[in-house]
Subunit: 344 residues, 2 copies
């Protein structure tokens, strides 16, 4: 079926051992830093390795050592800037620690209940970074039960599982930005939720509510809609709210992506930003500074969150103790889209 590619001419650990005049065990020790090897021997081995351009065969390593030297990343099949930034962060962390990154992006809610096992798991990774609400609790529990180290990124593990999670300071950040909107004179402030069950969204909503309450503004549930953290959905939702005659003077869009949809909706309906309606986002997406008016938002440390997730996962894999939750600080970024609210 597949072409056999001259498997015998590949440089293997035997060749290195012969060239260095030692046994394969010693070569292995040098490569992995395990056991004790004299300085002199190590030097000879390293010379042989680089002169032969030897690279250990990953599968053989994986089989023999029961470590794949690979971590998996499960993410939703979305296409925003968010993810490349995240991947960059993960890459920064693992590159010097002899780990590779295996990716799987889920397009539709996936579950192991349905039968088909996930393409990432104990069989091909040493641990997983899970960043998607598309994976149900059962699947996570199953992998956790197999002792597969897992770190959750921007989502929560099943409550009773001891799985570390990395989050942004969502509530604080949301509270800050809603406070800012209020300070600019806005009272009727819309909040657009993220996807069903999304943890970031839930926390941001808490911040939204807290800010309103702290400013003695009664919470109007009709002002809370769903934008799904996606521009298209957010656009539809705002148009719908406007057509239902709901009045508001500001919108906290949940994230920047949704804010972009809000921009489009407001323009279509002839509203000016920020003169008629102020708009705020969350994340400080790459485009936030380029859209016009430039978007007021909350800067979330995306790359850092990837780095932290990887760091904690590797600690978990190495059996080191880890913290159970990391909350990364956010920062309010005030731009044009909230310059002043003049409605009441």
């Amino acid at each position: 079926m597949s072409v056999k590619r001259s498997p015998n001419q590949r440089v293997k650990i035997n060749d290195v051992a012969r060239q260095a005049g030692v046994s394969t065990a010693t070569v292995s020790r040098v490569i992995n830093g395990t056991g004790t090897v004299s300085e002199n021997t190590a030097k000879k081995v390293n010379q042989a390795i680089s002169s032969l351009k030897f690279v250990a065969h990953g599968s053989a390593r994986g089989l023999a050592g029961s470590k794949t030297h690979t971590i998996g990343l499960v993410l939703p099949g979305l296409t925003t800037f968010f993810f490349t930034t995240l991947i960059q962060g993960i890459n920064d962390c693992i590159y010097n620690r002899d780990y590779s990154l295996l990716m799987y992006s889920v397009n539709t809610p996936a579950s192991m209940i349905s039968g088909k096992p996930l393409p990432l798991g104990e069989h091909n990774t040493d641990g997983l970074i899970v960043f998607t609400d598309f994976l149900d609790d059962y699947s996570i529990q199953y992998m956790h039960d197999q002792d597969l180290p897992i770190v959750m990124l921007h989502s929560s593990p099943p409550v009773d599982l001891n799985i570390p999670k990395i989050m942004f300071e969502n509530e604080e950040g949301a509270c800050d930005i809603v406070n800012h909107l209020i300070k600019m004179g806005n009272k009727k402030i819309v909040y657009l939720r993220g996807p069903e069950g999304n943890e970031d969204s839930r926390q941001r909503e808490l911040g939204y509510r807290r800010a309103l309450t702290a400013n003695n503004i009664e919470i109007d549930e009709t002002l809370i809609g769903r934008g799904n953290f996606a521009s298209g959905r957010a656009e539809d939702e705002i148009i719908d709210m406007l057509q239902r005659g709901i009045k508001f003077d500001a919108i906290f869009a949940g994230n920047d992506d949704a804010a972009a949809g809000v921009y489009r909706a407001l323009r279509k309906q002839g509203f000016l930003i920020p003169e008629d309606i102020a708009v705020a986002g969350f994340d400080d997406d790459y485009m936030a500074q380029y859209i016009s008016p430039a978007l007021t938002t909350v800067k979330a440390p995306v790359q850092e969150s990837g780095f932290e997730a990887a760091r904690i996962l590797l600690d978990l894999i190495d059996g080191k103790p880890t913290v159970n939750e990391v909350r990364l600080q956010t920062e309010l970024v005030i731009r044009e889209s909230t310059k002043r609210g003049n409605h009441v």
Copy 2:
């Protein structure tokens, strides 16, 4: 060093064989669709597999079968939307074909000459999609010499190597958009090149030159700058050109990212887009429709390019014949940023 995770309680092919009452060879045949297996036996095996939730150990498969069922993606450590879209395309292709995606993003020009081998190669993948100018010809040649299947994405292989490449119709697209700029009354049109040696950029420049020549506009080399396909660099370059007193009435920014930088530069210097200076990009990046004025650009089929690259790579791995070059059609998208050029 690392915790031993109960390796004996993992379900392995033996367990499946026993439960189904057959040999491991038969189970393997069922899984891989190799050899002949009676319908009845296959059914029993499949039942055993799903009832035990068996997943073959990737490393063992890799070692025994000399196929890793993994492809590698080498990309530059950039953070634009481009790459998630690409990954999505690759994922779409490989998901149902039993392949996984291993990622490596290069931050600085990498070469195997310098000694350190790449983290992706024959030892852990069945083939590579290379998308970066950060990898030099020597490294590519080396891997190619080892019979590792490679597909180049938006970059060219060393001339004498028989490596398929996927490109956009850059020249055509660039020619179209420059023609459009000319039609709108612009004569002095800037082109911002991408990074040194970038193939997309080179081809776009050809299109730029062709359009000018076809319209009897003399090519002014001082109007050609370098934007590196990056907003920051493009911003600096435009500001520099303006300060050097160079006059122009339109800018073809090379890609959308650079166009965003151009927007910033022009605003800082008090120019209106498109009234004073028209701006055009390339790619139809996600944000192109959101920035203001909405950016006229060339839509490049990014996701499709990822899909095609993966498809061709898998064909290569399977030893099937493949085409040597794919050029994906582009499409002019006219928006606000080129509405009319009124300068001369």
